[in-house]
Amino acid sequence: MIRRYVLAAALLLPATLIVAVPDLLYHRSPTAVDLADALRPPSGAHWFGTDQLGRDVLARVLHGAAPSWSLGLGATVFALAGGILLGLLAALAGRVADHLLLRATDLLLSLPPLLLALLAVTVLGTGRTNVMLAVAIAFIPVYARMVRSEVLAVRRSGYVEAAVGLGVPRVVLALRHVVPNTLGPLSVLGTIGFGSAILYGSGLSFLGLGARPPAPEWGAMLSEGRSFLASAWWVGVFPGLAITVSVLAVTVLGRQFRVHLTGRENR
């Protein structure tokens, strides 16, 4: 088990470094245009080749990490915050509120997340922050449901019932006992959500609703590169790989979390 954490960490640590300091090892500009050097295949000079305007693909992939990751992270944090708030309200605020909120999440769940995200991004307008918010909105109902059921489970457990018997106020109960207990499962869900958020972000970019050039962003790069697949595969394949590897690493980490928390270990 430790080995897998090490593996995931081995993948994530350099990735985090790249997100924080994209220039650490590789010092090319992601936006410098050099038309004389357009669409060069991978070489010593450009490890991942160059794109249609002669920009270095590796530099763009490295610099694209931050926007892509922050989209995933931001959307997950927002969705978790919204989900926790709604879920807690539903579970703790009494039957009427619970019923209403349940119906509200039912309503949102009845729409596919991509449709919700599409609607949200059309209302909010394109751009990185708005795409992040749109993806977050699409995920909120899933988290809210999850939090609610976790909260109900915790509330039914003996010690909380005992606390209620002792007359501890609801809010205090929620903050001191219920919330910490739901954090574990949520962190698992969060890691999975992080990956999904990156995928949704790239999907929106593919539909032309994501980040705008020239800023490097994986989804947009992949979307641009798909037209050159036959003639210059490196323009699309590397950002595509970057997405897959990031989502993969975080998903593996999330699974390990879960194994750890549920105490169930698959050999």
């Binding site: 309503l107 769940l109 596919p112 991509l114 059309t122 209302v123 307008g125 999907g203 595509g240 997405i243």
Partner: protein, 312 residues
Amino acid sequence: MNAVARAAKAVAGGIGVVWGAATLAFFALHLVPGDTADILMGTQALTSPQVHRRITAELGLDEPLWSQYLRFLGHLMHGDLGRSYQLRQPVWTLLGQNAWPTVSLGLAALVLALVVGTASAIATAGRRPAWRAAASAWELTAVSTPSFWLGILLLTVFSFRLHWFPVAGRNGITALVLPAGTLGLPLAGTIAQVVRESLETTLHQPFMTTARARGLGGMALRLRHALRHGASSLLTLTGLLFGSIVGGAVLVENVFGRPGLGSLTVSAVTNKDMPVVTGLVLVSATAFVLVSGVVALLQPRVDPRLRQRVSA
């Protein structure tokens, strides 16, 4: 509470969800910036301001929002979804034309995902670590790859290079293989993981030892339980599968140039085509409500924990 009352309550709840979804879509679209008549006429319109005003009036867009909403609800009660602003056809006609391509794509993807996912789980559950690692690797990669990207890769290899499957067209079932694969493989990955896990849990239950003692072969046992777990995991994953298939259809239909509700959605939302968007939302919400209703009915019948008591 008797069965009739329960059913009535479920129906009322379902109608509530559908009504709420339509209302949400109605108001969300009104928040989309820009003038509907402008968007309708496009970037290269040669229309005078008079024509513009007339369009706005004809579509009733100059009325106050609440009266537009009441009119919308009134039409909805009569089953009238209106006409598309952009395509100028009745929304029911558009939905009718586009429903089957999406439903057949979704069903094909679902079947493929179930077969591939369950097979992968059966073949590897409780086996040697190397097998499981290999299975996990493909499953996780499938889950972690953007579907439009997967679609383009599959197309390049299987259609343009190997000429095995056509991209699209009236070639019947063969034209469905690649899109269904694109949509189904990530789902297969998810299903495989869920089924394998519950299968492995089951394989260590005491009743399995009993079953083996009774002389049931390994493979037969695996199959029987895998099928049961496949069905049950399908049910617990309903919401996720529904969202992934309908949402994924948007991307897949765009890549493959397939007709369908998915490709209708993007253009309708971005072009503020109110009647189409509300129609799509209604259809999606209704489908979701129906599917969840059926699942709620089936769940107790299929849930392995209920069956286990019997077989143990």
